[in-house]
């Protein structure tokens, strides 16, 4: 059984490699992404200082001791930047995964059951999509941050996930509609399988690649949302994230004082992270989304 699962995972990885390597951007994206993962995992070994400790005088320009200078309370900016990779990747992928799974369940239900279920769920998706994205995410974050027992970082994750599911629901719904009509689903029905086991044993496996591709694609948007929220000051003020660094840079007049070493690097890192995921997502989506592949 375990060898069965591991061979399945191996097949999955192989398929992804094929999908990614079909286009050059996919490979470039993967390389950039692996680089970021290494930085995030080995942050304590790569970072020259503890980003939470005062390691020098405040507002230092770049120097051999502090390659990117120090911030307003004397923390090393390069170390903040390195640790920031963790927060960005973590929030981005977790929010994208939750949002995609919720969207996938809604899409599966709408596509499979049709009729009233489909009408109600599709209307809900339409209403949700007519809400202002950023404002709604800010609002939900403010609500969840206030909830007792929810750590701030998860409040942000849930807020982003809750605004990103409807788009996934649409994609999964149309994929489910096309799979539903295939002969083996009819055969499964004929031998008397329940609706739930048809959905989870026969339809879900067929769209699992699409779902993983969606997660990766949505992660780029989730990372941008996280950056915007922290830049606005929503989020854990003590967590080192790139958006939060920019929030403090702006609040402490780094832009007006021309401290480029403070406000340039976080933006570059956000862009690199988003781009790496977007590159992978673009080539995966093209491979797994049948509508895009045919055209």
């Amino acid at each position: 059984m375990s060898s069965n699962i591991s061979s399945k995972i191996l097949n999955f990885v192989k398929e992804f490699w094929i999908a990614l390597s079909m286009r050059k951007v996919g490979v470039v994206g993967l390389a950039m992404f692996l680089g970021l993962v290494i930085v995030a995992v080995f942050a304590p070994y790569i970072a020259p200082y503890d980003p939470y400790a005062r390691s020098g005088a405040p507002f230092q320009p770049p120097s051999p001791e502090h390659p990117l200078g120090t911030n307003d309370i004397g923390q090393d900016i390069l170390s903040e930047l390195i640790y920031g990779t963790r927060v960005s990747l973590f929030i981005g992928f977790l929010a994208a995964a939750i949002g995609t799974l919720v969207g996938a369940l809604v899409g599966l239900a709408a596509g499979f059951f049709g009729g009233t279920v489909d009408n109600v769920l599709s209307a809900l998706v339409d209403i949700w999509l007519s809400l202002p994205q950023l404002l709604f995410t800010i609002f939900l974050a403010a609500v969840f941050i206030k909830m007792k027992g929810v750590p701030m970082i998860y409040a942000i994750v849930i807020a982003i996930a809750l605004t990103s599911w409807p788009a996934v629901a649409r994609v999964v719904r149309s994929a489910t509609l096309s799979i539903k009509e295939r002969p083996y689903i009819e055969a499964a029905r004929a031998v008397g399988l329940s609706n739930l086991s048809i959905i989870f044993k026969h339809i879900l496996p067929n769209i699992s690649s699409l779902i993983v591709a969606e997660i990766i694609y949505r992660a780029s948007g989730a990372m941008l949302s996280e950056a915007s929220l922290s830049f606005l000051g929503l989020g854990d003020p003590t967590t080192k994230s790139w958006g939060m660094m920019l929030h403090y840079a702006m609040a402490r007049y780094a832009v007006l004082l021309g401290y480029w070493w403070w406000f340039l690097p976080p933006g570059i890192m956000i862009s690199v992270a988003v781009l790496s995921v977007l590159f992978m997502g673009l080539s995966l989506e093209e491979y797994f989304n049948p509508r895009l592949r045919s055209s």
Partner: protein, 324 residues
């Protein structure tokens, strides 16, 4: 479906959306905390005074009663209550800031939609040219750069390094509104940078959307037939290709007008521009329920109105919708 049935369906859907948004915001807002919490830290405040202030804002009633009051005041009297931070009527606070946001966003959205449409169709038509590929790469890079950071770069470049544009505000400090050329020039001077960043960024990102919708049409047989019939390039491009790609484009580009307040938040934050985007953000943070509710009614109403206009444009553009 007849036109009438179609419109009825859309209007019903619009009203559901409207009530969904304002109801959701009303009840969720009350989960963000007590707007008068700070009063309790003030030693001069006796519990009786605090209770009477709460009663003034209706906070002593259960939430569903507050909701009914809110609906009654809005529909019967056109009032949205008092802002707890500004200590003034909500409608006055919003109407004071709204012109700045509308004057910034409407021209920017219009210009960037036009540019996105024209350039998008053009690069779809010449999809193999070097300029097209360069623009697509630029567009992908642009959509990966966080928008607020792009605005910071512009602020640094033009206002700090070059010093040719102001660093904050919609007008110079101490300047109050008057119908004078002096005021208008000062206003435009502050307007230039936020307008440029907003327009540039959205033109480039929506351009890609227009291109992708248009490319789907290029493969159609009727386009090939139109070329074979010897029509000029421009005729085929706009009467056959763009015309058929237009419906989804109208929806996506048109809906931007409904989200004006949303689109203004980050711009107004970076450029310290006094508008409704920043106002709504601060209403959420300071738990000013009444200000938030008032702003959300405007937003929900604009979603409905814009959707309705898009529907009318649809009917004009698509005979299948028009004739049912």
């Amino acid at each position: 479906m007849t036109v009438r049935a179609h419109l009825t369906r859309r209007i019903v859907f619009s009203f559901i959306t409207f009530f969904f948004i304002i109801t959701l915001v009303f009840f969720l807002a009350r989960l963000t905390g007590d707007p008068l919490a700070e009063l309790e830290n003030d030693p001069r405040m006796t519990p009786e005074v605090i209770a009477s202030i709460k009663a003034l804002f209706g906070l002593d009633k259960p939430p569903h009663m507050q909701y009914l009051d809110f609906l009654k005041n809005m529909f019967l009297y056109g009032k949205f209550g008092y802002s707890v931070t500004y200590k003034r009527a909500v409608e006055d606070v919003i109407l004071e800031k709204l012109p700045y946001t509308l004057a910034l966003l409407i021209p920017s959205i219009t210009l960037s939609n036009y540019l996105a449409y024209r350039i998008g169709v053009e690069i779809a038509w010449r999809r193999t040219s070097k300029v097209s590929s360069a623009l697509i790469v630029l567009s992908i890079f642009m959509s990966s750069v966080p928008y607020f950071w792009l605005a910071i770069l512009f602020l640094y470049g033009f206002s700090v390094a070059l010093g040719i544009t102001p660093i904050f505000g919609a007008v110079s400090p101490g300047m109050s509104f008057s119908w004078t050329l002096e005021w208008f020039i000062d206003y435009l001077w502050h307007y230039a940078l936020p307008f440029t960043v907003l327009t540039l960024r959205s033109a480039l990102s929506y351009m890609l959307y227009v291109r992708n919708s248009t490319i789907d049409i290029l493969g159609e047989d009727y386009v090939f037939a139109a070329i074979a019939r010897g029509f000029s390039n421009n005729y085929v491009k706009y009467k056959y290709v763009a015309r058929n790609a237009l419906l989804p484009i109208v929806t996506v580009l048109g809906l931007r007008y409904a989200f004006i307040i949303d689109g203004a938040i980050l711009t107004e934050t970076v450029f310290s521009y006094p508008g409704t985007g920043r106002l709504v953000y601060e209403a959420i943070i300071s738990r000013d329920y009444w200000l938030l509710q008032g702003a959300m009614v405007i937003l929900a109403a604009s979603v409905i109105i814009v959707n309705f206009i898009i529907d009318l444009i649809y009917m004009y553009l698509d005979p299948r919708v028009r004739r049912g």
